[in-house]
Symmetry: C3
Subunit: 139 residues, 3 copies
Amino acid sequence: MQTQFTIESNGQGLYEFTDSVRNFVAKSGAESGLLTLFVRHTSCSILVQENADPSVLHDLVAYFDRLVPDANNSQMSWLTHTAEGPDDMPAHIKSAILPTSISIPILNGDIALGMWQGIFLFEHRQAHMVRKVVGHISA
Amino acid sequence: MQTQFTIESNGQGLYEFTDSVRNFVAKSGAESGLLTLFVRHTSCSILVQENADPSVLHDLVAYFDRLVPDANNSQMSWLTHTAEGPDDMPAHIKSAILPTSISIPILNGDIALGMWQGIFLFEHRQAHMVRKVVGHISA
Amino acid sequence: MQTQFTIESNGQGLYEFTDSVRNFVAKSGAESGLLTLFVRHTSCSILVQENADPSVLHDLVAYFDRLVPDANNSQMSWLTHTAEGPDDMPAHIKSAILPTSISIPILNGDIALGMWQGIFLFEHRQAHMVRKVVGHISA
């Protein structure tokens, strides 16, 4: 069983869509199996992270902006792929470091997330974007 | 077929559990298929790495501690999520950089690890922890 | 259905093998399913990245060489695992940061890559290497 999730982003940050994923699994009727999510872009990521305290999400964004500064930053003056804006190549680098696909077992009809885990689209671009994530359930 | 592995950690480091995974696959009787491991936490990771020379594991821990220093380090003074201890937010960041799930094909009744590959829980917290990893075998 | 891809590398960089993967999926006859790729080494990675502009690949290599310099670099003087050459332990670290496995849904007989996505072996060693990637298709 397959679906495609559409997630609209408005700037860098983490956009949770755990409920949409849970609804898809519930509708599938699968009692056990494997859910895989795959993002069809190279400038955003799929991340399972803590969804309890928003300060975790804030600090994640801040950390990765320090690890991979925008092209305007003098530390990044060596970048050559700059034609698509100062946040484009850094977005590709973040999408290499962070996951493009994630697989979560289904137990008793639900994904086996831990108590504090949520599923997020991690957007690395500053502009408004419409992102596509394919969901697939295997037996 | 599904199982849950329990791994107790005593501080930051890599804890190998390749043999437990191989036993699970052998008991399943699967000749071919796909094994997926998923860790139900956001402050530790699942990593396939070299299991021949312990100095590799030592250097991995040392590297990630330099890449993501504890909150006590002046480089990390911008962190906001610090209520759960100086190693908590850095553990979330490491768990974003390192894998939460890994999938390994099963060939001839065994996981297709290369000669030097082992499967590790990579613990990012300093306290004693009891970690849960779900294992799933698809056809 | 399973296969093994062999990719020869000649130094650090990204080696695209999207066409080989697409041929394998086409030959399998699978209309829908899940393709998983797993690399049997701990000093190279599997990466889905932009395959349109070669400058993206150039900058990715340059970034990771800055993030994880060779052992000859004074920033890395703390490394202990240095017997196998100055690029060996950095290659292990890069292989921890970048993916060892990736899973891509199959839709309408083809992998669900986005318009700009290609599949690459990311080689982290300088010497000529022969790399093995296992491909597996689940229902």
